[in-house]
């Protein structure tokens, strides 16, 4: 009997208040956490909004030394991982720590820590040969994104396969897909898997400004993230982290664990076309969906909800609408599709993990989170995007997709596990 991988614990630090409960309340209320950037003075920038997490690492239980040592990205990862492990009720130190893995995704690693240190050592950009004496002692931990997995592994006591996956904006889905693979192939029995990004920093805001990827509609920050709306004008930057505990099904059952869902399929494909641009036909995303559905042994009729990438750029929303039609055929028109980026913005590599947690909760509660801020339909986009309000709906099978810079397209399939 081949191994199966199930989700037994969830943790999240999302825009708004931390914790899975607050995250799900935000989503089901259809509220947006996007607001004017408060972390720095955004006035010189084109896009001046973001979905910020009201996250205080000390209040969430990190020690002063952990707070000092870790970039915000790592702080969120450790806090979300603790929540997920506690939720799973699994004692990771009881068995062989070599069978416990950690797989963390991140698109841009410790950007905030790196930029704030850069400003000091370069004296605000005045020096090319920067002053090493002014750098914090743990700066190398910011330099390498692998720190994010290391911090989680130390905290969880994992000594098995530990890695960071960094495939841009599909990092979250890809890191969790990788964790699934580790369990399927027998390299680990439990994997703490998720993704984290805290990119709300001047350099990230400037780099997305430079390519006009983010929304410039600063007058109404709360409603600026408008996936699938005719007036969509780019994404709104976000931050956050979600972590889940993945276990082999029989082991989870044997210890009487609560099982949210089975991670039944995962696939990634690349469009090999352009680092940022997407062709409208959605061929490669459709291929990723097709492969993930095959692995899951599910038909389009088994999919009850699609959690879309839905970034709210002109190109993306057309691209993936066509990818859904191409892969699911007529079923694409019957399945509710929504983008939670309308509420929590686009947290780059982290978003896929937050979206997968939302999918697990959609199965748990039989509720589909909405696409907020969708008031003006776009005739080119003709699926059911669940505008404005959450919907009670029987959800047994879910498709979750992501798309990112580098041309990467990923798809994951979750399904309810009958007890």
């Amino acid at each position: 009997m081949s191994r199966r991988v199930v989700i037994t614990g969830l943790g999240a630090v999302a825009p708004g208040d931390p914790g899975v409960k607050a995250f799900w309340q935000l989503l089901t209320a259809g509220r947006s956490a996007t607001r004017p950037i408060s972390f720095f003075d955004p006035s010189p920038f084109r896009s001046r909004m973001a979905a910020e997490a009201d996250f205080d690492p000390a209040r969430e239980g990190l020690t002063p030394q952990q707070v000092r040592r870790m970039d915000r990205t790592a702080q969120m990862a450790v806090v979300a991982a603790r929540e997920a492990v506690a939720d799973a009720g699994v004692d990771l130190t009881a068995g062989d720590p070599g069978r416990v893995g950690v797989s963390i995704g991140s698109a841009c690693g410790c950007t905030m820590g790196l930029e704030s240190e850069y400003v000091v050592v370069s004296d605000a950009g005045r020096k090319w040969t920067v002053d090493h004496d002014y750098a914090v002692p743990h700066i190398y931990g910011y330099h390498v994104p692998s720190t994010l997995a290391a911090e989680v592994a130390w905290d969880a006591g994992a000594e098995g396969p530990v890695s960071v996956t960094s495939t841009g904006c599909t990092s979250g889905l890809d890191a969790i897909g990788h964790a699934r693979e580790l369990i399927l192939e027998g390299s680990a029995d439990v994997v703490v898997a998720g993704a984290t990004d805290a990119p709300i920093s001047p350099i990230s805001v400037a780099c997305f400004d430079a390519i006009r990827a983010t929304s410039p509609e600063n007058d109404d920050p709360e409603h600026a993230s408008r996936p699938f709306d005719k007036r969509r004008a780019g994404f709104v930057l976000g931050e956050g982290c979600a972590v889940m505990v993945l276990e082999e099904l029989e082991a989870a059952r044997a210890r009487g664990a609560h099982i949210y869902a089975e991670l039944r399929g995962f696939a990634g494909r690349a469009n090999a076309t352009h680092m940022t641009g997407l062709r409208p036909d959605g061929t490669e995303m459709a291929e990723a969906i097709r492969v993930a559905m095959n692995q899951a042994r599910l038909d389009p009729g088994d999919i009850d909800y699609i959690n879309a990438h839905g970034s709210g750029t002109k190109q993306n929303d057309v691209h993936e609408t066509n990818a859904f039609k191409r892969s699911l055929g007529a079923r694409a028109y019957d399945v509710p599709v929504s983008s939670i980026k309308s509420m929590i913005g686009h947290s780059l590599g982290a978003i896929g993990s937050l979206e997968l947690v939302a999918c697990a909760l959609a199965i748990e509660h039989n509720v589909v989170p909405p696409t907020a801020n969708l008031h003006v339909p776009d005739p080119e986009l003709d699926l059911d995007y669940v505008p404005l309000t959450a919907r009670d709906h029987q959800v047994d099978g879910v498709l979750c997709v992501g798309s990112g810079f580098g041309g990467f397209q990923s798809a994951a399939v979750l399904a309810r596990v009958d007890s």
Partner: protein
């Protein structure tokens, strides 16, 4: 016998301090030509470390398509050049491989740091309007995989792994998974290039770098005089295919990745032992081999007394006999994501030419009790190589490479 689906290496290319191209690298490695020298890419005179393994003579205007030069960091230019070289070396006709069955998996440690420093400087010294459009795609860790995928039309399950200096082996392990899942060819490897002031000072802060100024006495892994390592830049790319399809097309096969495993050290102060010995044993188990089958071990060779002791102790624990140990990193410095990949290339060349390169200049500390090959290269009958790698924080990986034509 190599099983049908085993991942084999059919092409490779190198951009390293020891040379650009496989043969240049191998000749310099066998000759023990030191590739570590005073830093020339920036003024390092004010820093406590002034040596590094720089890639010399890399002309991006020749080795990288002109349109890609302004939009990429040096690390990506290395990756593009090495990927193209490895593909050429494999003589694989890509038109025979469906696009979705070709994938790229690279390791990365720090992203396009030099590019990033320039754009940070633009932002902070001149203003947000001066940040260029390519910052968004040049500095992130996925830039190498993305650009190589686009350049060669690789649409399969691409990946990017970050486990600091263990990354090269973890990428190869991931490439093997992608092949097992149905891909026909995977370009894998890693390149890093953090030798700009901003990338350099973060490394200074670890306290792991050697502050010596004599290039021949600075990075001395397993030497009684070991006092830290030196950073380098560059790396390598490999073409991997399943054994059966490689033989069907008549490909030259350098060797097979028959075993791989990884693990993570317990936190400092936990009292639990590091995982290196266990990971090495698991990689051998994975290959269906035992310690007695290994002809040479490529050491991670950090060059600090404590980490060298831990590695020597793991090697003694696994082998319980004097197994030859190679540390070619001593010539180049540590190349971050590129380091372990370069070791894979060098190990495959050991299999090809039946000779173990020397850690020239190292006088092995007798207390470590390991058979490190020093002085001159040592001819040997080699059919199996174990490659070890460790990344900052505790990342640990091991890979087993087997000779393609030798049946044990």
């Amino acid at each position: 016998m190599i099983a049908a689906g085993t991942a084999v290496v059919t092409g490779m290319d190198v951009v390293a301090p020891t040379g650009i191209g496989v043969e240049e690298h191998w000749a310099a490695t066998l000759a023990g030509t030191p590739a570590i020298g005073p830093i020339e890419r920036f003024d390092a005179s004010g820093y406590p470390v002034r040596l590094a393994g720089e890639v010399r003579g890399f002309d991006e205007t020749v080795l990288v398509p002109p349109r890609l030069v302004p939009q990429t960091d040096r690390m990506t230019q290395f990756a593009l050049a090495a990927a193209e070289g490895a593909l050429n070396d494999s003589a694989l006709d890509l038109s025979t491989v469906p696009e979705f069955e070709r994938a790229v998996v690279t390791a990365n440690s720090s992203g396009g740091f030099e590019f990033g420093q320039r754009e940070l400087e633009n932002l902070w010294s001149r203003g947000s309007d001066y940040v260029g459009a390519y910052q968004s795609i040049a500095w992130f860790y996925a830039a190498n995989t993305g650009q190589v995928s686009i350049r060669h039309g690789f649409k399969g399950n691409c990946g990017v792994v970050a486990t600091e200096q263990a990354g090269g082996l973890d990428a190869a392990g991931q490439a093997r998974r992608v092949l097992r899942n149905g891909a026909r060819v995977v370009l894998t490897g890693g390149t890093d290039a953090s030798l700009c002031p901003w990338g350099f000072i973060t490394q200074l802060r670890t306290g792991l770098l050697s502050t010596r100024t004599d290039p021949s006495r600075a990075y001395l892994p397993f030497d009684a005089d070991a006092n830290g390592f030196l950073p380098g830049e560059g790396g390598a790319m490999l073409v991997m295919e399943p054994y059966d399809s490689a033989t069907t097309r008549g490909a030259r096969i350098y060797g097979a990745l028959t075993g791989y495993a990884c693990g993570f050290d317990p936190p400092p102060g936990s009292g639990r032992p590091p995982v290196l010995a266990r990971v090495a044993r698991r990689a051998l188990d994975d290959a269906g081999l035992g310690p007695g089958d290994v002809d040479v071990v490529f050491a991670d060779a950090v060059g600090t007394p404590e980490l060298d002791r831990a590695e020597a102790s793991a090697i003694r624990e696994v082998f319980r006999r004097p197994v030859p140990v190679a540390a070619p990193k001593a010539l180049t410095g540590r190349l971050y994501a590129g380091g372990a990949v370069l070791d894979l290339v060098t190990a495959l060349l050991c299999l090809r030419d039946q000779v173990i390169p020397a850690a020239a200049g190292v006088r092995v500390d007798p207390r470590l009790d390991i058979d490190l090959v020093t002085g001159a290269p040592r001819p040997a009958a080699i059919s199996t190589v174990l490659v070890l790698a460790r990344g900052y924080g505790g990342f640990t990986a091991a890979a087993v490479l087997s000779h393609p034509g030798k049946d044990r």
